[in-house]
């Protein structure tokens, strides 16, 4: 079995009085792709945002249980430092209204790096890793907003890589993209998994099947409280799920 990178222990999350996640315990392996699947509103995006403490930004959020990264409690880590280690790619591409170069250099710059040459190296390396370099290398000064949707998303991935995280969280990264752009993102996720621990939320079963090594099925009933039903190798989840609800969801009987 692989080393555990991220772990939650009896983790619950409340929005005010409403319990959005209940007693989730999971061990996410290092340098693998783990997909979080489940019906709309089951809390899988909320769960994803728990790993870089983006839920802290929402007033009224309260958590119970523990979330660990490399065995360390993330609530004891400064969120700014945590987020440099745990990058995130959002559902809708959100490049800053800055040049491609400045988008990628943003993360290193906020950590205090100003050396032009080093920044140029980082920008090139990050764009190469995000499979975008060849398309933009002659236009680094162009606004990130002038790129196509798929390119913007890869720019956002490059931007996240530039900070040299060990974990990348992806919240339905291909939901707003066309099929070809989606395929490119999926290929990229596959390549990145050699060096990064990737957790991806997806609505798309085929996508989970194509890109992930492990799959967690989060489910909710009428209480709207998300619970972890099953977590296993993706192959096992898709071919031989233990739980009837997982099977029903995978085969498209609901959700």
């Amino acid at each position: 079995m692989n080393d555990t990178k991220l772990e939650t222990i009896n983790y619950s999350l409340y929005y005010g009085k409403f319990r959005a996640l209940k007693d989730i315990s999971i061990k996410i392996p290092e340098n693998k792709v783990t997909a979080l699947i489940g019906p709309s509103g089951c809390g899988k995006s909320t769960f994803l945002r728990s790993f870089n403490r983006m839920n802290d930004l929402i007033t009224g959020v309260r958590t119970e249980g523990r979330v660990l990264i490399d065995g360390e409690d993330i609530f004891k880590i400064d969120p700014v430092a945590l987020r440099q280690n745990v990058g995130m790619v959002f559902q809708k591409p959100n490049p800053f209204p800055k040049s491609i170069f400045d988008n990628v250099a943003y993360g290193p710059r906020v950590t205090g790096l100003n050396d032009r040459q080093k920044l140029e190296e980082i920008v090139e390396r990050s764009l190469r890793s995000a499979a975008l370099w060849d398309e933009v290398k002659d236009n680094l000064g162009k606004s990130g907003l002038d790129l196509s949707g798929g390119q913007q998303q890869r720019l956002c991935i490059a931007r996240a890589l530039a900070v040299e995280p060990t974990v990348i969280l992806m919240d339905e990264p291909a939901a707003s993209l066309d099929p070809i752009a989606t395929l490119k993102i999926e290929d990229l996720i596959h390549e990145l998994s050699a060096n990064y621990t990737i957790v991806i939320v997806t609505h798309n079963m085929q996508q989970a099947g194509r890109v992930s090594d492990f799959t967690a099925f989060i489910y909710t009933d009428e209480t709207r409280t998300g619970q972890l039903v099953e977590f296993d190798k993706t192959k096992t989840i898709f071919t031989n799920p233990r739980d009837q609800r997982t099977e029903d969801y995978i085969t498209g009987r609901f959700g």
Binding site: V110, L140, G141
Partner: protein, 305 residues
């Protein structure tokens, strides 16, 4: 033609007419002011009015340079003091203050916009001028550019703050999340992403503030001293420039129009034309700044590649 089509047409005509009327009003005012000023321009000469340092109606000297400098100086002072304050307010309200605090601070700031200009003037005369007078500099009367700049800074605060706040709020939330998720602090997110993304809106607020400042009359008359002199430092310290008395273009018109006749009256209209022109220059330069900035960014970007 059906009734609906007639109604549709009527609405269109009414709306078009309203738009036309507002344009006509602006043009008519501009034309009227300019027509009344022609006598001064022709009799005295454009250069004599714009660059003449002496305004002495008794001797038919109508140079308004001192008033141009007075207006520009007090506006500059107000911007210097007011913009950081207004931006601070806007950032606080849009990004930091919890809803309960916002509900108190925002109406309080907006209330500043509702205070009549003459009340600001009164406040300036009774509170600020004596305070400024405490500065121990020979020739300092308390009345002058400093007191006027402070009053004006407070007067333009609500305009700039509310437009800047709107501009900051209009910055999409996902920029903030993107920045925070990269490990930027809240303050870095504000200064490096939110403010740059909202800069044209913020600049628009500042420009409206400049326009308001240039046009302010009553409060200026009450605190700036109104001496028709070229403002200059009262001592060797250049900062004492702001202790100098001055007169604004607006004040010049308001103070003298009641008894002015002939060329004198026409020269006051010329003052109005200059004021009009100044405000147009401010708006044009703002547009130029926004465009210029884009150009600079482009140039920098090209160097990178």
């Amino acid at each position: 033609m059906s009734v609906r089509m007639i109604a549709d047409k009527t609405v269109k005509i009414v709306l078009f007419t309203s738009a036309i009327i507002s344009i006509i009003v602006v043009l008519a005012i501009g034309f009227f002011i300019f027509r009344e000023s022609i006598e001064a321009w022709t009799k005295l000469g454009v250069g004599e009015i714009l660059f003449g340092a002496v305004w002495r109606p008794g001797q038919d000297q109508y140079g308004i340079l001192a008033m141009i400098i007075g207006s520009v100086s007090v506006t500059f002072g107000a911007i210097l003091l007011g913009v950081p304050l207004a931006l601070g307010c806007a950032i606080f309200l849009a990004e930091i203050a919890p809803a309960g605090v916002q509900a108190v601070v925002r109406p309080a700031v907006q209330l500043l916009a509702g205070i009549p200009s003459v009340v600001y003037g009164l406040f300036g005369m009774v509170i600020l001028v004596p305070l400024v007078r405490n500065l121990n500099v020979p020739g300092n009367s308390g009345y002058g550019l400093l007191a006027a700049s402070i009053v004006l800074a407070v007067m333009i605060l609500p305009t700039i703050a509310s437009i800047a706040e709107d501009a900051i709020r209009a910055v999409p939330e996902n920029y903030r999340h993107g920045s925070l998720a990269l490990g930027a602090t809240k303050w870095q997110t504000i200064t490096k992403v939110v403010l740059p993304a909202g800069k044209s809106g913020i600049l628009a607020g500042v420009i409206l503030g400049v326009g308001r400042a240039l046009g302010e009359t009553m409060a200026m008359i009450m605190v700036i001293g109104n001496s028709v002199i070229m403002p200059k430092p009262l001592s060797g310290n250049p900062l004492t420039y702001y202790l100098s008395q001055a007169r604004t273009l607006t004040g010049n018109i308001a103070v003298e129009i009641n008894y002015a006749t002939g060329v004198h009256e026409s020269a006051l209209f010329a003052t109005g034309v200059v004021l009009f022109g100044l405000i147009m220059i401010v708006n044009a330069s703002a547009r130029w700044i926004i465009r210029g900035q884009k150009f600079v960014e482009k140039a920098n970007e090209e160097q990178v590649c």
